[in-house]
């Protein structure tokens, strides 16, 4: 996972497989970065994520909550077809901007 800070906020380049096993560490790392940098916008870049199940939806929804509480927003970037399929099912595409 690579974190990149820019004017509008924070971009997180996620990698590997996002399942229940992996999501705990990912969640902790992102939340630490959010509290440290207080971004207006959190960009979750899924372009090199090879797998995601509903644990990833929980992860996105959880980060949406954290950002929303602080008046910020969340953007999902680079999600591949299988990941978009899981996201569409969850309706998370209505809370976060997908691009």
């Amino acid at each position: 996972m690579i974190l990149k800070q820019h004017e509008r906020g924070l971009t997180v380049l996620l990698d590997g497989e996002i399942d229940h096993h992996a999501s705990k560490t990912i969640r902790e790392e992102i939340d630490t970065a959010i509290y440290e940098t207080v971004p207006d916008e959190l960009v979750l870049d899924f372009s090199i994520v090879s797998f995601m199940d509903s644990s990833g939806i929980g992860l996105v929804l959880g980060r949406y909550k954290v950002m929303h509480e602080n008046g910020g927003s969340i953007v999902i970037e680079g999600a591949t077809q299988p990941i978009v399929k899981v996201m569409k099912l969850s309706g998370v595409d209505k809370l976060a901007r997908i691009r």
């Binding site: 797998f51 644990s55 299988p82 969850s90």
Partner: protein, 144 residues
Amino acid sequence: MKVMNEFELKFRAKSENESFARTTVCAFAAQLDPNISEISDIRTAVSEAVTNCIVHAYKNGEGTVVINVKLLDGNMLYIKVRDKGCGIADVQKAMEPMYTTAESDERAGLGFAVMENFMDKLAVTSKPGKGTTVTMRKRIGNGK
């Protein structure tokens, strides 16, 4: 339906095994020559079923997950995932999208919805205190 091939996988309910389980089932199912999107559907559905055993069934301790996979006549994939964990009191309610008993753990309540959507058929039987069995079927090659 005639069983063309089958295998059983038994493992400790540890989160480290989630990836192993879904990858192994997909490797076996490859005999049915699924396309990329079918493989991805199977991988995700198995991940949901196995994760539920680890997160919910054995939330209070250790246990074993058993997966049976059968390749049936007519290019049909059959997957059974069972645990001997806490069981589900109201299966119908548990299967409703967004229903979860683990909200504090950031669960979305979408595992069953994924299994239902990504596979052709889903059946869940459960007895509180005894365990849960999830069976799924998918015909491979429908979209070809």
